[in-house]
């Protein structure tokens, strides 16, 4: 095996790595954005539920969640589908945790906007829900962009945990290359660089775009 063969083999895991990262990010978004608004605008019992969700998912290691979903939940006959699918479990587990993270990112963005924008919207006769959609969410996105960039980077990195469930991602491919070629250095360095390439440019771009936009709009 020469270097390019090794690299090609590692790269063949890249689509899976990206798929897990992007899908879990989207799942986290679908969970996190509503939770942030629920946490900000609803009554105590709902707030406690959201807090509980965030605390649990942020404290439990991803590996534990993944193994629990795969073996624990997947072990129940009724849940074999889809919990015996390692790709699904990896994405789902990371998405749940990302939901907790994104909820916090969005919540602090909402807090940063402050109550004033809401009051101004209500003064025009917008309902609370309309105000959330037309005034709060657009501004929340802008303020949250840098935080979302870091969250995406975290997911790309953590998608490598799926290796333990047997998902054939970049990490898994690197390990295979190491085993078959007995080269213990190149596969890891190449993989490390690829992870950096997948995370760093986008996260940096989102960070600078968000900061610039925030400044431009005086947010």
């Amino acid at each position: 095996m020469d270097l390019s063969e090794k690299l090609i083999l590692i790269l063949s895991g890249l689509p899976t790595t990206l798929a897990i990262s992007i899908l879990s990010f989207l799942l986290g978004f679908i969970i996190g954005l509503p939770l942030a608004f629920v946490r900000t605008y609803t009554s105590k019992p709902f707030q406690i539920l959201v807090d509980g969700y965030e605390k649990v998912l942020r404290s439990v290691p991803e590996i534990v969640t993944m193994l629990f979903l795969y073996f624990g939940v997947g072990g129940i006959p009724a849940f074999r589908f889809p919990f015996k699918n390692s790709f699904f479990v990896a994405t789902f587990a990371l998405g749940l945790r990302s939901g907790a993270n994104q909820s916090q990112v969005f919540r602090s963005a909402i807090r940063g906007i402050g109550e004033e924008q809401m009051v101004a919207a209500r003064s025009l006769g917008l309902s609370r829900l309309q105000a959330v959609f037309h005034v709060m969410i657009p501004q929340t996105f802008i303020i949250a962009t840098p935080g979302l960039g870091s969250e995406y980077a975290l997911l790309v990195k953590d998608s490598s945990y799926s290796f333990i469930l047997g998902v054939i991602d970049m990490m898994r491919r690197a390990d295979t290359v190491r085993k078959t070629s007995l080269d213990t250095v190149f596969p890891y360095i190449a993989t490390a660089l690829l992870y950096i390439l997948l995370t760093f440019p986008l996260a940096t771009y989102l960070d600078s775009w968000g900061s610039r936009k925030k400044k431009e709009l005086g947010l």
């Binding site: 004033e116 924008q117 009051v119 101004a120 919207a121 209500r122 003064s123 025009l124 006769g125 917008l126 309902s127 309309q130 037309h134 005034v135 657009p138 501004q139 802008i142 431009e216 709009l217 005086g218 947010l219």
Partner: protein, 250 residues
């Protein structure tokens, strides 16, 4: 006799130990210009917000053209759309242009079609002489320009009354003039207004009645002449003396 547009009866707003509004009753008739003033922390903003039902009064009634807004089951969104509000600290929507700010209520609340909303928004911006800034974001405007857009935003909804909460107090002195000019234009057009302001020249010119508030309660009310010549209460007398001295200095 003109019809009553907005009134409150025995209105109270209590925050824990603080009584921000204390048993206030007032009535604004069509075409009226009421000017409310008083020291900082006297409850002016709280009163204004209660009148617009942006906060719920603790006690008392707010009545908009005969409809009691403090009863349960009233559609407050509909009511708020009929009351224009201009904020002390402006509060334009940061993410929208001047035009976007004015259009939002027209599109989402009045449900006007796109073209019509745009036309009406531009018309409102024209009235405050900001049509040339339609595509600019609030952060690109001066405070005075922002506040004029704030007035256009309220005006465009064609409200039955506009409540303005110290529209010039957050502006540098050299920018208050343009906003006061805009208010004068509104007054000339016969707009029904409740203005909280300490611009005494403006007050004397346009107010039908001045209402002096201290510690949440109405201390004295009457035509501007009363306040400028001979206020009855000691508190109003002292406050007027301070204001007039300040106006002269500017």
């Amino acid at each position: 006799m003109a019809d009553t547009v907005l009134e409150c009866r025995n209105l109270w707003k209590i925050y824990g130990k603080i009584t921000a509004v204390k048993d206030v009753s007032l009535e604004v008739k069509e075409g009226d210009i009421k000017l409310v003033f008083g020291p900082s922390g006297s409850g002016k903003s709280t009163l204004a917000r209660c009148l617009a039902m942006l906060t719920t009064p603790t006690k008392g009634e707010v009545i908009l053209t005969g409809e009691n807004l403090t009863r349960s089951g009233v559609d407050l969104n509909k009511a708020r759309a009929r009351i224009g509000f201009v904020f002390q600290h402006i509060w334009l929507f940061h993410h929208l242009t001047a035009l976007g700010n004015v259009e939002l209520g027209l599109r989402q609340v009045l449900k006007l079609p796109k073209e019509e909303a745009r036309e009406r928004a531009l018309q409102a911006l024209r009235e405050v002489k900001m049509e040339g800034w339609a595509e600019h974001y609030p952060a690109q405007m001066s405070g005075g320009q922002q506040q004029r857009v704030g007035i256009a935003r309220a005006l465009a909804m064609n409200p039955e009354i506009i409540i303005l909460d110290e529209p010039t107090s957050s502006l540098d002195p050299e920018l208050t003039g343009e906003v006061v000019d805009t208010l004068r234009d509104l007054a000339q057009k016969g707009t029904t207004m409740l203005v909280i302001s300490h611009e005494m020249t403006f007050a004397r010119e346009v107010a039908d009645e001045m209402i002096f508030i201290d510690e949440g309660a109405i201390i004295e009310r009457g035509p501007p002449e009363l306040f400028f010549t001979n206020p009855t209460s000691e508190r109003a007398r002292r406050f007027m003396a301070r204001l007039i001295k300040r106006t002269r200095r500017e």
